[in-house]
């Protein structure tokens, strides 16, 4: 299958950056999110809020990229928070237990308040 891409909008919110993917986050598209998080680490802006409002579907690959991002950003001295109002994703976070380890809130600002450190 051809490599698909998910559009990722990156905005600077001062002390952190907001990554807003648009499209499904699955095994075919997840590389873009992983690369974007990698750039945040390279650019020494390791505090990131991922806004999932534009992601209608996310599978375990997408979840894996988010959780991998959490770990990598924390190792770089930052953190990853998630802004999400979609029931389906919130349920996935709850089932897998990731909701307990990561700041998840309905808005970007509220999510950013939950950054560790």
């Amino acid at each position: 299958m051809a490599q698909q891409k998910v559009e990722i909008e990156i905005t600077d919110a001062g002390s952190y950056r907001v990554l807003k993917p648009t499209g499904d986050l699955d095994v075919y598209t997840v590389g873009s999110l992983r690369d974007a998080i990698g750039r945040m680490i390279e650019e020494a802006t390791p505090k990131v809020v991922v806004d999932l409002d534009g992601v209608p579907f996310m599978d375990s690959s997408g979840l894996g990229a988010l959780m991998g991002g959490v770990r990598r950003l924390r190792e770089a001295g930052g953190d990853l928070a998630i802004a999400c109002t979609r029931e389906q994703h919130l349920k996935l976070f709850a089932i897998t237990g990731f909701g307990e380890g990561v700041s998840i809130a309905p808005t970007v600002e509220e999510a950013a308040q939950g950054f560790r450190g």
């Binding site: 375990s60 690959s61 894996g64 959780m67 389906q88 089932i95 237990g97 990731f98 307990e100």
Partner: protein
């Protein structure tokens, strides 16, 4: 310069057409020259010669007529003189039309001047003296002055004739010179046509055929398995385009060969994965365990394990994150750790905790696996499990026979987190009591996340309804039927693996030693 084949052929033919046009122009020019010479000779030079001859002849005749009239009958000969004067005038007019060149005109003027003087001499002196009866004096004047004038006329006529002959000679020379030029141009043009013809008929097909031979050689190289063969055609035309496409095809074939190799490796991986899964479900009086798996790809991230003793059955189901080889490796590693730990006789909580630790060390931060580790006590029907971030199992009650309608619910017990990511995933246990006929259904999220073409997911609600509806068909068929239902929903396009383990509790069976299995979860 690089030109397409079409332009090369068109250019060649164009060049030939140019030469042919040049040939036509030279021929026409030659005909034009011949026509010009013809015009000069037949319409100018010869009529001018005739006119000059006629003029000279007329004056000679006039002189003879006057001379005769002085000797004999005066009137008849004077009439003849007058007629010849008219003839001379006519030819003088004609000659003036034809002899327009400066020198010719001058000679003609001299001739006509001499003619005029002759007429004046005859009309004013010779004839009046003859009429007055003085014929001897008239004869003398005519013989002296008249003869001189006639002689002058003859000299001028001769000069004019010579001049015309010279013009004829010049014309002939010009014609000869033009013929030579035409012949040279003709030879050059024919040579050019020949060269262009050779280029078209010989060089172009030769080059084409040489390049085609290279393509043939390249196809043979592919046949030998050499995908690195350089076609090496830089003709700048359609053959080079063909060679470029051929090279792309060569790369495509090489990629296909690599893919075929990968496919073989994948098949080996799939075989290893299949061998790891339980192939023969151990028989267990009191429990029926039916596994069902449909992988979206050759290898997948879903995994399960079944272990049955006379006292209890251990049923484990898991789903590694991601897809393909990465997920399959994660699943294999998880299953291997879990079996190794289980083989040591560890308690379920220890098995899970140690598997988690091992996966944390061994896998990258993007990878994890969900899992349910369950133990079902055959004697009591009690089922206990650790749910490590996995979708909640479904408890199906009712056989559908004798008014025992099927019904069921998702068993949402205390949850723990996925394996391989958290240092402390939690070890909370869910406990339920099963009655004979109850079916505990473990499944992976492929059932919930199967997507219809328009994007809607199958979801928990649809799965629960399908389980209850299809349960009347019997435990053996249920897994297959549910997979079929999900496949239809996704229009045959499954992105994720589907795994389902159905554990039907048939009721306690008396053990040989009379004891009941003790569970320590």
């Amino acid at each position: 310069m690089k030109l397409s084949l079409r332009w090369k052929i068109m250019g060649g033919f164009g060049l030939m057409l140019l030469f042919i046009a040049l040939l036509g122009w030279v021929t026409l020019s030659l005909f034009g020259s011949v026509r010009a010479v013809q015009r000069k000779v037949f319409r100018e030079a010869i009529p001018a010669l005739v006119a000059v001859d006629e003029i000279v002849r007329s004056y000679t005749a006039q002189s003879a007529a006057v001379r005769g009239s002085l000797i004999g009958s005066l009137d008849a000969l004077l009439d003849r003189y007058q007629r010849e004067v008219e003839v001379a005038k006519h030819w003088e007019t004609r000659a003036r039309e034809l002899l327009t060149d400066g020198h010719e005109s001058e000679l003609l003027d001299n001739l006509t001047e001499a003619g005029s003087q002759f007429h004046s001499l005859v009309d004013e002196e010779v004839i009046p003296k003859a009429v007055a009866g003085n014929r001897a004096q008239a004869f003398l004047i005519l013989d002296q002055d008249g003869s001189r004038l006639i002689q002058d006329i003859e000299v001028q006529g001769e000069l004019l004739r010579t001049l015309q002959e010279q013009r004829l000679q010049d014309t002939e020379n010009e014609l000869s010179s033009r013929s030579r030029q035409a012949l040279i141009i003709l030879v050059i043009v024919l040579f050019g046509v020949g060269v262009a013809g050779i280029a078209l008929a010989f060089l172009l097909p030769r080059r084409l055929s040489r390049n085609l031979s290279r393509l043939v050689e390249a196809t043979r190289a592919i046949g030998r398995g050499d995908f690195e063969h350089d076609v090496g055609i830089h003709s700048g035309d359609e053959v080079e385009e063909l060679a470029t496409r051929f090279t792309e095809m060569q790369s495509g074939l090489q990629r296909l060969q690599q893919l075929a190799l990968q496919d073989r490796e994948l098949e080996i991986a799939a075989s290893i994965q299949r061998n790891l899964l339980i192939r023969h479900i151990p028989h267990s009086p009191g429990l029926k365990i039916i596994p069902m798996q449909r992988q979206a790809n050759l290898v997948g991230g879903d995994w399960y394990d079944i272990d049955v003793t006379p006292q209890a059955a251990t049923v484990v189901v898991g789903d590694a994150s991601g897809k393909g080889i990465a997920a399959a490796l994660m699943a294999t590693v998880a299953l291997s750790f879990l079996r190794a730990e289980k083989g040591l006789g560890s308690l379920p909580k220890t098995v899970i905790a140690r598997t988690n630790e091992a996966l944390l060390d061994a896998t990258d931060p993007d990878s994890f696996t969900t899992s349910i580790y369950s133990v079902i006590d055959i004697a009591s029907g009690e089922a206990r499990w650790l749910n490590m971030g996995h979708p909640a199992p479904f408890l199906l009650r009712g056989t559908g026979v004798d008014g025992d309608d099927p019904r069921g619910y998702y068993v949402e017990g205390p949850r723990n987190r996925v394996l391989g990511w958290f240092e402390d995933p939690g070890l909370n246990v869910t406990v339920i009591q099963m009655s004979p006929g109850d079916r505990l259904i473990f499944y992976t999220d492929g059932f919930l996340e199967a997507k219809a073409p328009e994007g809607e997911v199958f979801g928990e609600q649809r799965l629960a309804e399908a389980i209850v509806r299809l349960s009347r068909m019997g435990t053996d068929q249920l897994g297959e039927l549910l997979v079929g239902e999900v496949e239809r929903f996704a229009a045959g396009k499954l992105d994720d693996d589907l795994t389902m383990l159905i554990v039907e509790y048939e009721g306690a069976v008396q053990q040989d030693d009379g004891s009941a299995a003790a569970l320590n979860v």
